[in-house]
């Protein structure tokens, strides 16, 4: 048993990788779905085991191929990435049962097995980025997850899915290139690719080569920001989310951007923060205006959007703004708020996109004007949408409230009450766009498109209800979300060269 425990970090990535390879041999969609569900179900077990191990025993280091770091690739699990591993694998495992009907409905029979193969590869890449302690290995996994997600998006029924996937491919490739240029600069000045080792040597290198170190940060920051859709770099996201198959949208919205945010946290707090004084670097100065612009501009764009998937995609850009705002605050409460919102937003957006997928499955449309009265014909689906939507706004008693509470406390502790005010004000815009959907769903006469619709089959309904329930549950019991996020923030801040105040 102990031998297996020691292999857990490797297995976290190897299981979905082998799963993807085997899925490529399967030709039948349903069998491939069963296989992918089985493989996905194994990943949260590994992730929880890792989280428990890290929680009690401190960081784990796994040497790929038996080569010790910094020469070999190291998989390093600490609280931060164990938390993200649990999030990504758990949400994927909850969503998998949903995939069967939804994918069978939206994708041609002979392509379904390939869809599951690509999904498992994407999961491999996301888990790999999260678990690795090696900057270049993270780039490789970033490419694996990105390339497979382009395929997932291009499989959408709408022809525009191809254009959306192409747009994402171009921007995603630029992002990955920026990231690898940044890693290259760090390698030039430190001679290492291992995150911990770079952090150890960067302070000294910065004294000799201050400009390449700063340029490296800029490249890494822009590259990762393209991946996480930070406000002005978000243009790929609405189309990609709108035209991808429903399951792919829900999966990518819940996991892909979150993993990119994790990488940003890693670069800022575990590399640059450890080696240099973050206050002298323009990280917060860049993040504040962009986050606030995202919170307002993307939310307002969501209000004017009539395609519900695009509306939620803009809302995702806005919510990412809250997470990066938490990073910019760089104090205990603010960072906790950012990290806990990473978790909560994954659950909330997962539930919302699954609800839209269910509506698309039954009613055949997600255009707002055609969905009048859908709340009466698909009661459970729309109830889940409303519950998750309230959590998105941050109604007290829901998970979204916890995130915003921590963010506001963080802003007040940093002495920035206008930001606290802006957080509340932008939440009201969420009330407008979610409210608009609720108004159409419940207070309009039943339209022809939804007249014969009913709640989706149980296989689709249960994952949706579980995620909707979770988006309320984590507003009441915050042990796993805010509890862990708080300790993660504490560890990150205590590791800084010049500790964050407050």
């Amino acid at each position: 048993m102990s031998a297996l425990t020691a292999q857990l970090p490797g297995l976290q990535v190897v299981i979905p990788l082998l799963g993807a390879v085997v899925a490529a041999f399967i030709r039948r969609g349903t069998i491939a779905w069963g296989w992918a569900t089985l493989i996905t179900a194994m990943t949260p077990i590994v992730a929880f085991a890792l989280l428990i191990q890290v929680w009690t025993g401190g960081p784990i280091s796994y040497h790929m191929g038996g080569w010790p770091p910094p020469i070999g690739i190291e998989y390093r699990v600490d609280l931060l990435n164990a938390f993200v591993l649990v999030l990504v694998s758990l949400v994927s495992a909850i969503m998998m049962p949903y995939a069967r009907r939804s994918v069978a409905h939206e994708i041609d029979g002979d392509k379904q097995a390939w869809f599951y193969c690509m999904y498992l590869l994407c999961l491999t890449g996301l888990l790999g980025i999260t678990i690795t302690g090696d900057a270049f290995n993270a780039f490789v996994f970033m490419e694996i997850s990105s390339l497979s997600s382009y395929v997932l998006i291009a499989m959408g029924r709408d022809r525009r899915a191809l254009v959306a996937a192409y747009q994402y491919l171009i921007i995603g490739t630029i992002g990955a290139t920026f990231y690898v240029v940044g890693v290259g600069l760090l390698y030039l000045v430190t001679g290492s690719l291992n995150f911990a080792d770079i952090a150890l040597r960067l302070g000294e290198a910065s004294a000799v080569y201050p400009r390449p170190v700063l340029a490296g940060l800029a490249f890494l920051f822009v590259g990762i920001s393209l991946k996480l859709a930070l406000f002005p770099l978000h243009v790929w996201l609405p189309n990609a989310y709108a035209y991808a198959p429903s399951f792919a949208t829900a999966f990518l919205a819940a996991t892909a951007t979150k993993v990119a945010i994790y990488l940003l946290l890693r670069v800022i707090f575990s590399i640059y923060g450890v080696a240099l004084d973050l206050k002298t670097l323009p990280v917060s100065a860049v993040l504040y205006p962009l986050s606030i612009a995202a919170m307002f501009i993307a939310s307002i764009l969501a209000v004017y959007e009539t395609n519900l998937k695009r509306m939620l995609a803009y809302s995702s850009v806005a919510q990412i703004g809250y997470i990066t705002l938490g990073i910019a605050l760089m104090n205990q409460a603010g960072l906790t708020g950012g990290i806990v919102h990473l978790f909560n937003h994954a659950l909330i957006k997962g539930a919302l996109f699954l609800a839209l997928g269910a509506i698309l499955y039954r009613a055949g449309t997600i255009k707002l004007e055609q969905l009048g009265g859908v709340g009466r014909t698909m009661p459970l689906t729309c109830a889940a949408f409303v519950v998750a939507g309230m959590s998105l706004m941050g109604v007290p008693g829901t998970a979204g409230f916890i995130s915003k509470y921590y963010l506001i406390v963080g802003a007040l502790n940093a002495g920035m009450w206008p930001i606290a005010f802006l957080i509340v004000a932008s939440s009201l815009i969420a009330l407008v766009y979610i409210g608009r959907a609720v108004e159409v769903a419940y207070f309009r006469p039943v339209s022809s498109a939804v007249a014969h619709a009913k709640d989706p089959p149980l296989l689709m309904l249960v994952p949706l209800l579980v995620l909707a329930f979770a988006s309320v549950y984590f507003g009441i019991d915050t042990e796993l979300s805010a509890g862990v996020a708080g300790r993660v923030a504490e560890t990150l801040l205590s590791g800084l060269k010049v500790g964050g105040a407050n």
Binding site: A3, Q7, G10, L11, V14, L17, L18, V21, V22, A24, F25, Y62, H63, M64, G65, G66, C117
Partner: protein, 138 residues
Amino acid sequence: MKFDLILRVGVKLMIPFMLLFALYVQLHADYGPGGGFQAGVITAGAVIVYALIFGIEEAQRVVPKRLVELLVPLGVLIYAGTGLLGILFGKNFLDYSVLGANPPLARERGILFVEIGVLLTVSSTMVALFYAFSERGR
């Protein structure tokens, strides 16, 4: 180009040497430049030049599409399987030391297996791409 005698005979003469050179690049990589990726590209090049001269149907008779689609994941499976041997014998993933008592020999074996996987995946992926493009609009 189906009736161009010189091209047909010339390519028929070239292909065995291309495949042999691919094997040389594959297996001589311990001592010189090369490896599975380069060898895979040369192998795929042999198939592609055959398809260009003799037509796509003839090429697919020799290298069927189904075979190509099987070889793509098979190569990755060989690579990952070699890595998994490490875990099965109580070491870390991709630890080649479990493949033999003598460490240099064990590593050489590990690299050989892994490179065979790379050869299969790279060559079949290139052929699959070529087939996909050449079948467009038919």
